[in-house]
């Protein structure tokens, strides 16, 4: 040990250790400082998913005076919905293409009993169930059937990071 000290190896080791600590501290401090901005961005995406849900719930499928989600629920449950299925899909795809957040995909799904109605934009993006980052807004659309039965159809609108399409 004395010989190592004489050669100055202990000092060199101490300096190398300080250098490693310096690099680690720099990386840690700079990456940690980005967290508030990431959290603020996530809050904005959460807000976007809420707004997208409300837009699909309230905006009409032109020229029909029926909202997008109500039209989808009717397509799921009724034999003769007000908005024809292919027209509804085309109109909703156009709306999602215009409204979706850049670099994120959107999926809309309704399900009742064993039936489901699903749509995603871009096409082929899937429902995003396994996406690492996703912002989900759940709700329901109420329909009154011909017999007076009141049915609540669960709806999920999901904004998620696009992987590979």
């Amino acid at each position: 040990m004395a010989s190592l000290n004489n050669r100055g190896v202990a000092d060199v080791l101490a300096m190398a250790f300080m250098f490693v600590i310096l690099v680690l501290a720099a990386v840690f401090m700079h990456s940690y400082s980005l967290r508030p901005l990431r959290a603020a961005t996530d809050r904005q995406l959460e807000l976007k998913s809420e707004h997208l849900y409300k837009t699909l719930e309230l905006a009409w499928v032109e020229p029909y005076s029926v909202s997008f989600l109500r039209g989808a629920a009717e397509n799921l449950l009724l034999e003769q919905p007000i908005v024809p299925g292919p027209y509804l899909r085309s109109a909703m795809e156009n709306a999602l293409e215009y409204l979706h957040p850049p670099e994120y995909a959107v999926s809309v799904s309704l399900s009742y009993d064993n039936a489901s109605w699903e749509l995603s934009w871009p096409r082929g993006a899937g429902l995003g169930l396994d996406a690492e980052k996703q912002f989900v807004r759940r709700g329901e659309v109420r329909l009154t059937m011909a017999g007076g039965e009141n049915i609540a159809v669960p709806v999920t609108v999901r904004i998620f990071e696009i992987a590979e399409i």
Binding site: G8, P36, L37, A40, R43, K48, L58, Y98
Partner: protein, 144 residues
């Protein structure tokens, strides 16, 4: 003092100074990022307040239609808000598609070039000619 000792002292001093510089730089970056996050949150708060309170369409029976924008309310809109003791100015516009893209606005002053600007666009509903159209509400905000 030998040359080796001088070199060791020099390297140690450089490391200590580097550590201090990294710490100061990280602190400055943290403050800058926190300011940006505050600006982002202020923009979010402005959008929320506009879409559920200040720009909402009110029908003839006095019912509020949250998330539905009344274009008539855009023109008289005050474009300054205070959050946490800080004043923020903003510019707002509404875009929608009806046989091509239409833009209402922008309303409010022009964003300055020398300050950080928060920007947020969310989907909303526009009440236009007795129709509920899907639209985008865009807000750009900055510290006054």
């Amino acid at each position: 003092m030998t040359l080796t000792q001088i070199l060791k002292t020099l390297v140690t001093c450089i490391l200590v100074i580097s550590f201090l510089l990294v710490t100061v730089s990280a602190y400055q970056q943290h403050r800058r990022i926190s300011a940006l996050a505050e600006l982002s949150d202020a923009t979010t708060a402005i959008v929320t307040r506009l879409s559920v309170e200040e720009l909402v369409y009110v029908d003839n029976d006095g019912n509020l239609h949250m998330y539905t924008i009344d274009p008539a309310k855009l023109e008289g809109l005050s474009t300054r808000r205070e959050f946490g003791g800080e004043n923020f100015d903003f510019q707002v516009s509404v875009k929608y598609e009806a046989e091509g893209e239409h833009v209402l606005g922008p309303f409010g002053s022009t964003p300055p070039e020398d300050r950080a600007i928060g920007s947020l666009a969310v989907s909303c509903v526009l009440y236009e000619n007795a129709h509920f159209l899907s639209a985008k509400l865009s807000v750009m905000a900055w510290r006054a």
